[in-house]
């Protein structure tokens, strides 16, 4: 959610529609979330909705774009803060994973879910463009982690052979899987615990 004070009235309504839609879609899925219920909660009419979004597919695209933007900002911030605390790639990475785990612990309630996973399990409903955006977001995660792990492996040659690709993907895998378990149980400890588990693995593999 962007800062409310920098948004015009119309932009505020639009953000609110996106907030309501995202929450509902993560609970029921895209097809089961009707425009009718979104506008009911937002307190506008249906035509008001279509002033903001061309059609329902336009909503799905705007929603994903906003989600990916926010996600990118969070991870960039986590890594930037870790880099500021330690310049060594391994230690910085371990700090980043701790910061990330803490961040996920501090959610107000249990994790609402990840739009990427949600869309993935309803893929055929979305346009090729949206599917492409979704896929690409995971490639970005993979590349981000891969790059950091490479720098670590350079300075700390692992004793056992390490598959850097699989280890990079493991970050995404752990996050998506952890979210599912927390979502299923209404808890918020599984995701941070799993991130720390991943952190532990990276340390065991590389730490001298």
């Amino acid at each position: 959610m962007a800062d409310v004070h920098t948004l015009s009235k119309g932009e505020q309504t639009r953000e609110r529609l996106l907030d309501i839609a995202e929450e509902a879609i993560l609970k029921k899925g895209f097809a089961a979330t009707s425009i009718e219920e979104i506008i009911a909660e937002a307190g506008i009419t249906k035509s008001g909705f279509f002033y903001h979004f061309k059609d329902k597919h336009d909503l799905s695209k705007a929603l994903l774009l906003r989600f990916l933007e926010e996600d990118k900002a969070i991870m960039a911030d986590v890594f930037a803060r870790a880099d500021a605390l330690h310049e060594d790639p391994l230690h910085s990475f371990l700090i980043a994973m701790k910061l990330f785990a803490d961040l996920m612990s501090d959610l107000p309630s249990s994790h609402p879910g990840c739009l990427v996973a949600s869309y993935c399990y309803q893929e055929q409903q979305f346009s090729r463009e949206v599917r492409e955006l979704n896929r690409n977001s995971v490639l970005v995660w993979r590349a981000r982690f891969r790059e950091r792990l490479e720098r670590i492996a350079e300075r700390y040659p692992p004793r056992v052979p390490v598959d850097l690709d699989a280890l990079s993907d493991m970050a995404t895998v752990i996050v998506e899987g952890g979210i599912i378990l927390d979502k299923l149980f209404g808890t918020k400890t599984t995701l941070p615990d799993q991130i720390l588990q991943f952190r532990q693995l990276v340390r065991v593999l590389f730490h001298p």
Copy 2:
């Protein structure tokens, strides 16, 4: 899918309806999968569908029950085969993870998805009973792995402190996350690679 030859004509149609529904639901989600398209592919009329299922919710329940049954059988078989090959808990576990990874590599096409994750991201559409079934299935996974890891930890005290709960959940987390990545990319290597990654972690933690 049960053996075709042990099923009556009606049971065969029912299984076929479940097959078609499962494939469609994993691609589009539950709400976006219409009874109309299921019967079109099955080649029967709508009333024929309602002969087999009370309503659409009845279908969702039957689908999940069948999925969980199959899932249980697969894992039981993997562990039984591993136990037959080695009686030591750690080695049997490592063998089981290898067998599991191989099994996931041998899928005819890319992984179609996991109904548990699919339902999880559309939870509010399902009855409390179905949601309960879904949640419970993860508890079963957790318990199954927890029990095996405990036996391992007894015989091989880990050098570093190990959180057995988190490690047990990691199995489920890795599988759900791995499936999402394979599903997104249309590949089938991520899931087995991640299972082997998990296997590697267990070995590093416990192997003397």
